[in-house]
């Protein structure tokens, strides 16, 4: 099946703000129902949340600029050729802080954040499960085991993209901020020095394997990202489940951006090694434009899941802590376990925050809710064929 036809699909692709009252301009994909509903009366994100988010964005941006100035030894080590990248990271910092603040202002996220951190810093957690957090970080954030349960191919492709992007970020961010400097007396051969904030960290021979790895770190990252992103792009064109409901701006653009960044990055190396710099300037501009676009896109599109995903660890820790105390909550009707007691109480609190006046229903398992509704329909509304 290809793209849905224009007419029926159009409403879905149009700005859903009208329906959900989601924060305008925050995200092309999600209409942020949680945030939206908190603000449904106004139809927009409350002014106070917007103001707080903007303030958070400004503070984080200013802190980053200060870190750039100080880390580059008062711009002494700052490479002006990388200025567009550095400016983009400041926009990125603003966007992430803004979006993050809006996100955690919604009742569901705010409560989860509070309970997650509360679990982490509880004395009980340190005493009973001191290794739980590192294990969960490795499982959910590092190795992303849950993706393997969805599909091994998706897990492998995502791991390639994930570690490739981590590697690229560890190299490029400090470089663009002027935190890294590489110096050599001779320009090649022994005596190369890597410095961070002006302090010597590593001395190496630029012609040995370490030197090769240091200078080709971004090429290695690109070689990892390209097959991963290509697999997902192929999947978005072939997998019927993935195609259902996908949108170009939300699902395709991020993959295309990763591929363009990686391919142009590799071509820059190819140009300098084999073409004597032929086409280098054009490629450099294309590479820069794609990177800047991607950095600015991160807070407002699919890549925002990078920022959100750690919430999975907080949620797991919260539930894990409850299970340690054997606080399992059973369905009031069938006594099948629903979740931990603190989790159910937290959910009921979220529902009360949202003025969902049926939070007591959370104490029944899904099947019992359906059966009771069916029984009520049968006895009070309609029985049999008519």
């Amino acid at each position: 099946m290809t793209e849905p036809p224009e007419e029926p699909a159009a409403p879905e692709q149009s700005d859903p703000v009208t329906r959900t009252g989601a924060p305008a301009g925050t995200d092309g994909r999600n209409q942020g129902p949680a945030s939206a509903v908190a603000a449904k009366a106004a139809g927009i994100v409350p002014r106070s949340v917007n103001a707080r988010a903007a303030l958070a964005g400004v503070v984080v941006s200013v802190l980053l600029i200060l870190a750039i100035v100080l880390g580059s030894r008062l711009l002494h080590n700052f490479d002006s050729a990388l200025l567009p990248y550095a400016v983009a990271t400041v926009f990125l910092a603003f966007g992430v802080a803004y979006r993050y603040t809006v996100w955690i202002s919604a009742p569901g996220a705010r409560r989860l954040l509070t309970r997650g951190w509360g679990s982490l810093f509880s004395a009980e957690n340190f005493r009973k499960a001191p290794t739980a957090l590192p294990k969960m970080i490795a499982t959910y954030l590092g190795f992303q085991k849950f993706l393997g349960a969805r599909s091994h191919a998706r897990w492998a492709a995502h791991q390639l993209i994930f570690w490739g992007c981590i590697l690229a970020s560890l190299i490029t961010f400090p470089l663009t901020w002027g935190w890294f400097t590489f110096t050599s007396g001779s320009g090649s051969g022994p005596g190369y020095e890597m410095r961070i904030w002006g302090f010597k960290i590593l001395g190496f021979d630029s012609l040995n394997i370490l030197g090769w790895l240091m200078f080709h770190g971004l090429d290695i990252a690109a070689v990892m990202v390209i097959p991963g992103a290509a697999y997902f792009l192929w999947r978005r064109m072939k997998d019927r489940g993935a195609i259902t409901g996908q949108r170009f701006a939300y699902d395709m653009v991020p993959l295309l951006a990763l591929i363009v960044i990686s391919v142009t990055g590799l071509l820059l190396t190819f140009s300098s090694l084999f073409l004597h710099g032929g086409g280098y300037q054009f490629l450099a501009i294309l590479h820069m434009v794609s990177v800047v676009f991607t950095l600015i896109y991160i807070p407002f599109g699919k890549f925002f899941h990078i920022v959100q995903r750690p919430a999975a660890v907080g949620m797991q820790l919260f539930k894990y802590t409850g299970r340690q105390d054997d606080q399992v909550f059973a369905c009031r009707r069938c006594e099948e376990p629903i979740d931990t007691g603190p989790y159910v109480e937290n959910l009921r609190g979220t529902m009360r925050d949202l003025d969902l006046g049926f939070d007591a229903w959370a104490e029944y398992c899904p099947r019992c809710k359906r059966v009771l509704r069916g029984s009520a329909y049968l006895s009070q509304v309609k029985k049999g064929f008519k």
Binding site: F146, D339, M351, G357, A360, K369
Partner: protein, 200 residues
């Protein structure tokens, strides 16, 4: 009132599971059925109830409202879609907050899934898989006028009572014509049905 949607008539359901089988063919969750078919008074009655996502309109999608990861999309045409795979953290808030007991969760994959109103089909004007195969019309897809043309004298209710709250939905249930103004009971807190305590 409402446009093309699903109308559920439990009185016609014979519990044949055809909808459950057909639901597996929906592309958005291929191979897994998202329909619940419950036998509400098993052992005493053959009554059964098919449950699809009711696509709540007011309050809009409680599942999405309680989601801490902003993962559940509500499209402009009123379809509450299953969780975005990149965002869903598998917390099960949606599962336990839904008053209709609809969303399912895969705890290994950390992923919520639910009925998407066969968005791959309804976006093209086709009926959802469940309504296509239902042999008795317990699941009917179309407009209210089309339903009434086929079944003179029926009315539908799109409002459900849960305690002191009402939930208006995009999917409706068939009710006797003289009770159309009466919102459908959500089921809780029900203490007794036919003299039997149903709380336990």
């Amino acid at each position: 009132m409402m446009g093309r949607t699903i109308f559920i008539d439990p009185g016609r359901c014979i519990g044949c599971q055809a909808c459950v089988s057909a639901c597996r063919e929906c592309d958005s969750h291929r191979g897994k059925s998202m329909i619940h078919l419950d036998y509400t008074d098993e052992g005493s009655s053959v009554a059964s109830l098919p449950t699809v996502c009711m696509h709540c309109e007011d309050p809009v999608a409680p599942c999405a409202e309680v989601c801490p990861a902003d993962a559940i999309l509500v499209t402009a045409d009123g379809v509450v879609q299953q969780a975005d795979t990149t965002r869903c953290i598998g917390c099960a808030n949606c599962v336990n907050a839904c008053p209709f007991g609809v969303p399912k969760i895969d705890l290994q994959a950390k992923l919520q899934m639910k009925c998407n109103l066969c968005y791959d089909r309804t976006a093209y004007g086709l009926a959802p898989m469940c309504a296509t195969v239902c042999p008795t019309g317990a699941l009917f897809y179309g407009t209210l006028e089309e339903l009434q043309a086929e079944r003179p004298g029926v009315q539908v209710a799109d409002t459900f009572v849960f305690g002191e709250s009402e939930v208006r939905t995009g999917v409706a249930m068939v009710v006797p014509a003289d009770r159309v103004q009466w919102p459908v009971p959500g089921g809780l807190p029900v203490v007794e049905i036919n003299g039997k305590d149903v709380r336990r």
